[in-house]
């Protein structure tokens, strides 16, 4: 600290910007403390000045996160309208209509990525059809193991793999080389789920329609896995070995935390939701060389748009919704109908069909118990929205409901 401060009066000190930042934000805490300790006479002045700064500090009246997001949405809506050449006066009435447009157009974001990463991974199980009947484990030597159940478990421990709590594959006996490049894969078709415990104790829940690649034993310096589809992770804490989840175009880096990644090839976006801990997200592209990582805080969601190659970070007070599928329910809040259909398609291994002219900007909020039959789930949706379903085998035809239109929307 500069000696000039010793000559300052309390008033002068109180209005010094560096002093203010120390008191309010703790900037250079140790240097200031040391300085005060060195000159005990100075301390009284510091105390008085601190009180002044604190009296005038103003940490109250923060705008709630929800409101921050709401205003931002409106700004984005307004921007879209500007782009279409019509400047409309935004009112508080636009609640329903524009949100659908917005969800599709989620463009801007606090996104900062960097580095080119050549670690693209080709799934050897990529030719396996997602509509197939069983989940599969594909070992690094090419052997395939059927995971018979709808909801299977796989646990790695001491170089052996335990499946559905009974059959055990000893990796050593199978003469598998335990090197990092040789990965094992799990393929979870539509309608199925799989739970994994990795070598380091990390738990992974794989949602329907996902592929996941992992080593039998992690490398010395990092824990690298590959994902296509959706997974919820509870990463075992290890600050020495970062856990790296690679999805098409992005890499999520963590030390120990709980989060969900949804990266289906058929989706326009990749969503990362953080429940606990901290994660960094970076884009894996040469073009992204100058972008910084995105750091997520708990209760935040990063949405990466694959076409536009940019991200938005969203506060999400209902992050648990994102991992509802782990426990067999699917909850949505202000999600549009098509989004709901997409999730049901994967989960129940069916297809929704509708006319090109079928339009809906209905937003649904609710919770579906996926252990119930598809018919039951569909009847819930019919009750809460303006659509009707007609089922023929695995195809569900969607039509508008006429006469009565009860909109669930809050």
């Amino acid at each position: 600290m500069e000696k000039k401060y010793l000559k300052y009066t309390a008033e002068e000190l109180a209005q010094d910007l560096r002093f203010i930042r120390w008191v309010n934000k703790g900037e250079n805490e140790s240097r200031w403390r040391q300085f005060v300790n060195e000159y005990p006479d100075f301390e009284l002045k510091v105390k008085t000045a601190k009180k002044l700064v604190q009296l005038l500090d103003d940490s109250h009246q923060e705008l709630e996160k929800q409101e921050v997001n709401r205003i931002w949405k409106k700004i984005r809506e307004g921007e879209l309208n500007q782009q279409h050449g019509k400047r409309i006066q935004l009112t508080r009435l636009l609640k329903y209509a524009a949100v659908l447009v917005l969800l599709l157009a989620l463009g801007g974001g606090v996104s900062f990525f960097f580095f080119y990463d050549s670690s693209a991974y080709h799934f050897s199980g990529s030719e396996i059809d997602m509509h197939s009947a069983q989940s599969k484990l594909i070992l690094s030597n090419g052997n395939e193991v059927d995971l018979e159940r709808d909801h299977s478990t796989i646990a790695l421990k001491d170089e052996s793999i335990k499946i559905n709590n009974d059959s055990i594959i000893n990796l050593k006996q199978s003469q598998l080389e335990l090197v990092e490049e040789k990965l094992n894969e799990v393929v979870v078709p539509y309608g199925k789920r799989t739970e994994l415990v990795l070598d380091d104790g990390t738990k992974v829940w794989l949602n329907a329609g996902s592929r996941f690649a992992f080593p039998a034993k992690f490398a010395e310096d990092s824990r690298t896995v590959y994902l296509e589809g959706e997974a919820y992770f509870e990463v075992a804490h290890n600050p020495q070995k970062a856990f790296l989840v690679n999805v098409n175009k992005l890499q999520v880096r963590v030390l120990g935390t709980r989060f969900n990644v949804s990266a289906y090839n058929s989706d326009e976006t990749i969503e990362t939701v953080l429940i606990e801990g901290k994660v960094a997200i970076k884009e894996k592209s040469k073009l992204a060389a100058f972008k910084k990582d995105i750091y997520l805080e708990p209760n935040q969601k990063a949405i990466f748009n694959k076409d536009k190659r940019n991200s938005v970070v969203w506060e999400d007070s209902k992050v648990e919704n994102a991992i509802g599928w782990v426990n067999g329910w699917f909850s949505f809040s202000q999600d549009n109908l098509f989004h709901v259909f997409k999730r049901l398609e994967r989960y129940y291994n069916v297809q929704f069909r509708y006319d090109e002219s079928f339009m809906s900007n209905e937003l649904l909020t609710g919770k579906l118990d996926m252990s119930e039959s598809l018919d039951e789930v569909l009847s819930y949706i019919t009750n809460m929205s303006a659509v009707e379903f007609r089922t023929e085998k695995d195809i569900i035809y969607v039509t508008k409901k006429y006469n009565k239109i009860p909109l669930i929307n809050k």
């Binding site: 209005q15 009296l55 103003d58 923060e62 705008l63 409106k74 606090v110």
Partner: protein, 196 residues
């Protein structure tokens, strides 16, 4: 503030990530600033929204700058003053008629207002805050909450450098005197929070 300069440049080019960054980074300070001026939160939120929409609309014509927060506060101030003036004409609120003056209320002050019974000490502090002129309050906000330097404060409030310094000094002096009349018990809480 080289970073601000780059981000602003990106924003002008139409980079929507830059827009989102600017918004997320500054929305809280704008809101707090608004709350100091008026209790009408809806007006504040609408003003923030309109401010950003106008910036986006005219982004290509905006000049370069190296302190985004300062620019936003300045633009926001102009807008909210105009809005308040409009409302005043309609509702005839005596309080806000003085043309370009803002009345800033401090959060501690508001706490005191809400309290039913004030201790002797609190009364003295309240009196001290009450004694501040609107201009002094505004300067203190820019300095203590926004951390602006004096040249920026002068630009915002069309003041001369010397008078801005003088006003600040006098305000702090009188507040200090108030504080010294009390034995600061109420600060104990603040200090403890700070020490953690």
């Amino acid at each position: 503030m080289k970073m601000d300069k780059n981000i602003w440049g990106e924003f002008k080019k139409g980079n929507s990530e830059a827009t989102s960054h600017i918004y997320n980074r500054h929305v809280q300070i704008l809101y707090r600033y608004g709350k100091k001026i008026t209790s009408d939160s809806e007006l504040i939120k609408d003003t923030i929204q309109e401010l950003f929409l106008d910036l986006i609309r005219t982004r290509h014509n905006l000049s370069e700058l190296d302190n985004i927060q300062f620019y936003l506060i300045k633009a926001f101030r102009r807008r909210i003053l105009a809005e308040l003036k409009k409302n005043t004409l309609v509702e005839k609120i005596e309080d806000r008629t003085s043309s370009s003056e803002l009345t800033i209320t401090y959060s501690y002050e508001e706490e005191l207002i809400r309290k039913e019974h004030l201790t002797h000490r609190e009364k003295i502090v309240q009196k001290g805050l009450k004694a501040l002129t609107p201009k002094q309050r505004e300067i203190l906000f820019y300095r203590f909450t926004c951390n602006f330097d004096y040249s920026q404060i002068c630009e915002l409030m069309s003041l001369k450098y010397d008078s801005a310094r003088k006003m600040t000094f006098r305000a702090l002096q009188s507040l200090k005197q108030c504080l010294s009349k009390t034995d600061f018990n109420f600060f104990v809480i603040h200090f403890q929070l700070f020490e953690i």
